[in-house]
């Protein structure tokens, strides 16, 4: 079910009503049923994958916990008799057994993901290689269909099993509760990727009808649909026109496409997350934020702390740190310090880990080279800006501009355009086309076309541009307001007629101006194939 479908809205209404009518202790079970129903609608066959992930993780977590308990008990019982050496040896052996279960679980689940998602990509590249060596045969594509949300729920669940192994918290004894954590339906389409200890705080609780939660949640859902239907789906028309016809839209239009895509993706993604968090809030469940006004970032590192936050922290905790502070990495670093000097040696962990993480981040977004290039380019920019830190420090010591408003605006603008530039790799069908289009920005001098009505050839009318301008300004104002505190709280303090007018106006705006129905291409959330 798409978020923007009548069926989904009906599903939500029915769910909300039943949720608050049934005895509270059954609420989480209702959510489990609802999540599986939601999943079944996406395709009956896919449910086996999510069940496989749930059961394999449950088994592994059970086994790991069993070994952990045995370890603790054994050491307690034999406190007197064990020498320090023996204790250390025993711990290491037990840890190794636990690690085996962990590895099996990770291999199995990441394996499923890898095979389903990347087989055809590998085949395509092998075919390219075969071409280079003029071998006649071509391998056929297997065209696996991706189960809904597999990239999200696999990562979320693997984070859980790693945490259990690391003894961050104890495993979930109830397999059905685990199943709900894995399949919680609002998160299936575009995340966020939650941590078990965070979600657990409210996911399994008994929730009484709370007018504030429900009101705030509904407001958030409305806001999400507003961004999604009024702005994102409308801009998508123009973006698709530009990137779908690279021969006809070059030069300044590449920049226009870049700019529109920046807004479109922001509204689509944050709008979708608003809907997710809003739904959870109506249910009394707290889901972590995934965005914090990312386009206000002043640097690329700050941007990646504010955009798709849960993916970033997932990679940091489960890939970046494990790789960069592993024994083998530190040894490698030591060796490099010896051979190449301290400066190079000490950079090795960060560099190697960063490249691996960004390569993986890229490929997580899609099984294609343009995503890999995008990931690695992000990595490059981050590492370069890291290296330039001493230069920046010198600059700021000399010129005291850091807290000047115009400088901060400059930084924001610079980051915005840099990220928009990189993000364009998402759009065109392959890397070479993207770079070719980048080239035309400088080579093709058609800026005058903007003033000769060029914008009218993108599928949007004047009225729609005016509408977009008003709506984007509205979002900007709301974001600025948000910096000093929750907008919904501020709204709650206003008199009733003000609040009701705002809610109704928002609802009406979605109803009237939403780019849905006959005449508009129905578009999925961009991340829903993950």
């Amino acid at each position: 079910m798409l978020f923007t479908s009548y069926e989904f809205l009906a599903f939500l209404v029915v769910l909300f009503v039943i949720y608050y009518l049934i005895p509270k202790k059954f609420q989480w079970m209702l959510l489990l049923v609802a999540s599986y129903l939601f999943y079944l609608v996406a395709g009956i066959g896919y449910i086996f994958y999510i069940i496989a992930t749930t059961l394999s993780t449950y088994l592994a977590s059970f086994k790991i916990n069993q070994l952990q308990e045995r370890q603790v008990n054994y050491i307690k019982e034999n406190k007197e008799t064990l020498s320090r050496e023996e204790r250390k040896e025993y711990k290491a052996a037990m840890k190794k057994k636990q690690k085996t279960w962990l590895i099996l679980c990770l291999l199995f689940n990441f394996g499923i993901l890898a095979v389903l998602k990347y087989t055809d990509f590998v085949i395509a590249n092998m075919n390219a290689l075969l071409d280079i060596f003029s071998v006649g045969t071509k391998l056929p594509f297997l065209r696996f269909a991706l189960p809904l949300g597999i990239s999200f729920y696999t990562f979320q669940t693997m984070g859980y099993i790693i945490d259990v192994y690391r003894e961050k918290y104890t495993y979930e004894k109830n397999v059905f509760r685990l199943a709900l954590f894995v399949s919680f339906f609002p998160q299936l389409i575009q995340g966020p990727i939650s941590r078990f200890d965070d979600l657990k705080k409210t996911l399994f609780d008994e929730h009484s009808y709370d007018a504030k939660n429900i009101s705030f949640g509904l407001q958030r859902i409305l806001w999400g649909y507003f961004k999604k239907l009024v702005i994102a789906d409308r801009l998508l028309i123009a973006v698709n026109t530009i990137v779908g016809n690279p021969e006809d839209y070059q030069g300044v239009f590449v920049l226009v496409g870049m700019f529109f895509y920046a807004i479109e993706l922001y509204c689509d993604f944050t709008g979708g997350i608003d809907i997710v968090i809003g739904i959870a809030q109506v249910l009394g469940i707290h889901v972590e934020e995934n965005f914090i006004r990312p386009y206000f970032s002043k640097s690329i590192t700050e941007y990646w702390r504010r955009w798709h936050i849960t993916l970033g922290t997932w990679f940091k905790d489960y890939m970046f740190y494990p790789i960069s502070v592993s024994k083998s990495m530190l040894e490698l670093s030591k060796k490099c310090r010896k051979w190449f000097g301290n400066e190079i040696g000490k950079r090795i962990p960060v560099y190697v880990a960063s490249i691996v993480v960004w390569f993986t981040t890229g490929i997580w977004h899609g099984a294609a080279w343009n995503f890999i290039v995008w990931g690695l380019l992000n990595c490059l920019v981050i590492l370069v800006s890291q290296e330039c830190t001493p230069l920046y420090l010198k600059f700021h010591k000399r010129f005291h501009v850091a807290d000047k408003l115009w400088y901060r605006i400059f930084q924001i603008g610079r980051t915005f355009w840099l990220m928009s530039f990189l993000r364009t790799l998402d759009c065109y069908r392959d890397v070479s086309t993207t770079f070719r289009m980048y080239g035309t920005i400088v080579t093709k001098h058609n800026y005058y076309e903007l003033f000769q009505g060029g914008l009218m050839n993108l599928g949007l009318s004047v009225a729609e541009y005016i509408l977009l301008l008003i709506c984007v300004t509205l979002i900007l104002i709301v974001s600025l307001l948000q910096r000093s505190g929750s907008v919904r709280e501020k709204l709650a303090a206003k008199p009733m007629w003000v609040r009701y007018t705002v809610y109704f106006a928002l609802f009406l705006a979605i109803l009237l101006f939403g780019a849905y129905g006959v005449g508009y291409d129905s578009s999925q959330f961009i991340y829903s194939q993950f």
Binding site: R166, K168, F320, Y321, V325, L330, S333, P349, V350, A353
Partner: protein, 76 residues
């Protein structure tokens, strides 16, 4: 403790490590710093810092870092 402070100053010389208790919370030290820090510390103090130890409580102040180092040395 002094060795530790030396290492820390090597990362960000301008920070007052003696008194600051929000190195992580205020994003004074980022993830790259942590990695470099761990690399240097494990070299200097000859200990292994496992990934599980990378949490704000252990890195928010020089004191906290030192306490972690002592604890890990004990357990070895």
């Amino acid at each position: 403790m002094d060795t530790l402070l030396e290492i820390l100053r090597g990362l960000h010389p301008e920070v007052d490590y003696e008194n600051c208790e929000t190195l992580i919370d205020d994003k004074i030290i980022d993830s790259f710093d942590i990695v470099t820090l761990i690399s240097d510390i494990s070299d200097e103090f000859d200990i292994t810092i496992p990934v599980e130890e990378i949490k704000p409580e252990n890195f928010n102040s020089a004191k906290a870092i030192y306490a972690m180092i002592e604890r890990l040395k004990e357990e070895e």
